[in-house]
Symmetry: none
Subunit: 227 residues, 4 copies
Amino acid sequence: MPAVKTKRMPRAVREQQMLDAAVKIFGQRGYMAASMDEIAELAGVSKPLVYLYLNSKEDLFSACIRREAKALIDAVRAGARPDLPADRQLWSGLTAFFTHTARNPDGWSVLHLQARTHGEVFAGEVAAMRAEIVAFVTQLILAAARDAHRDPDLPAAEVAGLAEALVGAAESLADWANATPGVTARQAAATLMNFAWAGLGDLMNGHRWVPPADDEGDQQGSTSPVR
Amino acid sequence: MPAVKTKRMPRAVREQQMLDAAVKIFGQRGYMAASMDEIAELAGVSKPLVYLYLNSKEDLFSACIRREAKALIDAVRAGARPDLPADRQLWSGLTAFFTHTARNPDGWSVLHLQARTHGEVFAGEVAAMRAEIVAFVTQLILAAARDAHRDPDLPAAEVAGLAEALVGAAESLADWANATPGVTARQAAATLMNFAWAGLGDLMNGHRWVPPADDEGDQQGSTSPVR
Amino acid sequence: MPAVKTKRMPRAVREQQMLDAAVKIFGQRGYMAASMDEIAELAGVSKPLVYLYLNSKEDLFSACIRREAKALIDAVRAGARPDLPADRQLWSGLTAFFTHTARNPDGWSVLHLQARTHGEVFAGEVAAMRAEIVAFVTQLILAAARDAHRDPDLPAAEVAGLAEALVGAAESLADWANATPGVTARQAAATLMNFAWAGLGDLMNGHRWVPPADDEGDQQGSTSPVR
Amino acid sequence: MPAVKTKRMPRAVREQQMLDAAVKIFGQRGYMAASMDEIAELAGVSKPLVYLYLNSKEDLFSACIRREAKALIDAVRAGARPDLPADRQLWSGLTAFFTHTARNPDGWSVLHLQARTHGEVFAGEVAAMRAEIVAFVTQLILAAARDAHRDPDLPAAEVAGLAEALVGAAESLADWANATPGVTARQAAATLMNFAWAGLGDLMNGHRWVPPADDEGDQQGSTSPVR
DNA sequence: TATGAATGAGAGTTCATTCAT
DNA sequence: TATGAATGAACTCTCATTCAT
């Protein structure tokens, strides 16, 4: 199923066709197993043209990462509604996120799976995008604290860890949702909200789970999670 | 830096050396980018010997997966203490998990990153291990419910999603901890406990975050996470 | 002594060059001992080009067999003259056959020697060609019977055996002629005609050599071949 | 189905086991495709022992050729009965030949198929055996001439060609008989006697098939084969 | 006599990349 | 703008052969 072979298209269009093909192949096969031959064929052009426009396999992969990262960020941004309370913002952001990853499984695979397995260069490009999302979530956590009129004295490092955990959980759930038929974006988002939001709330109220003083042999409990 | 060339070792020993080398190379480069030459050199043996003992690149990779999966499961099992309350069990299991992944970053990479990007066969081997862990966590969640003498009427599907989210979050945090200098296993475990345990407790009390009825246009909040 | 390196030739031409080289190498070394490197070098191209056009060593060998089989059949067909009496037809067919095998020793080696030692697939391709020739000879034997206005009541099975023997003898003589300097195609053909034609004639007259009733102990001769 | 592993056997016995295995493998796979591993396993010994006794793959193959050549010659010799008339001698020799090749298909394959496709060294070893047989047949032809009390003035070269043709036909028929279920050694021998003996007789009476003076365009017949 | 451990050398095959038009 | 023709380099895998015991 190569693209219809239309000759003499403007460069920008051809490039998008190539990127479409590349994202699909890279997403399904991985960087190393993807072959430029297959990508060119799927794009409906000759291999030299791919090189003329995208320069090399590495550059092509980079371009895929950048395009898909931007698309994902844009989707999440479009889902966010700064006027809503923090929990609603998180909810809509998550929903947008899961919707996008469900609609673009290959792009998501490129970002989350493939880019991280090959060289620091690619990983760096993804890390930049991820940092943006973590920052967004961090902001929400702090906003939630403000909404609650509490200054729960959360140290920055702790907030960072929480944001990281939330984003990490979201990423894992995206893979899970894509791999599990019948799980919708809303369900994935709801699962995560249920899982995380109360915990965050507790934290802000100063209820935290305190690790036992000593790993071995100590018996002392902690704030019981079940009230 | 090839291993010291000790000659004429019994087969079982050589095999472990080869697996050590293979896990390292596979973990760092990925399945496709790893070359049998490099693995053999790192193991301090000739390539034919690798083939004689491990048969093929695929089989070698499989053997790595199986060995590392077993090691991980064993580590978590050794960390679990069935006599403790559920939260303490989760805590010690998580600590063991993060400790193991921190000490075996290459093995963890093989399991979590590399094995999932190449062929259903490999993914299946990992999935089996993951299923064991998810089952363990699921058990803990149910035990927590029992501990609290509540029958919170959590539907099985919801418990599955929660366990999935928890395991997913743990996996992501393991990557994060490995990539972020200065984060200890205990810190990672504490972050996740804080993040998750209170939420689970709330859920069992029937406090759940209810998504807005309609994505577009509805303004009304929900159970506020921040009290 | 690689072929003169002429660059940028149309595919069809290059393919023939490759087949030329392959037939030579396969014919001289055999299928297994022939190396794609050597073939590519003799063809004056790089190995990848051989693979691009001919796909694999097996396919290349198959292509050689098909090309050489066709050439041989065509040569024999071109030599046949359906208007002549049967003996003359056989003579001209044999002459064409020995001429062709003498001019294409490598092709003949591929067909007769090499193709039969590797896998049923290859043997099958040659068998098809051989069957055509045997059919042609069978026809001639029957035509000779008709020419003689005899119905010698030759059973089909016997005719088949005779045709087989004649073709087998021709094949062996082709090898012998190629290996023995100074033996021309005409000489080989004459030898075979002398050897076979009178015997056939006798057979059609009902003079056949009758084997002794019992292998051991019987003394009695048979129709003496020498009158 | 490796040979039963009996330890510490006298060298001569072990060598025969190895040759048995080697002939089987060489005969079925060909020289190049046969692997020393497979031969050693089939022989029920370790590879170094094969090298200790037989020295190298080449030497092993040579030994196979020599053993099988001797066996074949011996079989034919044992079948010959110098006291009989020439035709009966030929008959019994042929029968012995076809019987032996039918009982030792792998050995026959080594001699007739495999040895001729690899290097002049091996071909030479077979040629020596073949020469013996051709000499035997030549003798018979001359004896037949004597029996007939004729000195048909057959030039030596012609006799050589005839013997060659007869032996070649026999070789081809051996392959054919081995490949065609239901064809017995006696049938093969009878076919060849019928095919050849009358022709020889005619020749000795001076009836020979005379080739047309000119290949192209000449119409002139020849001694009609059908009287 | 006999073998487990080990390897140098080379096979077929594929791929990212470029040249010439 | 676009492509058929072509290749250097690297990969997985196999094999005949030897060493040390």
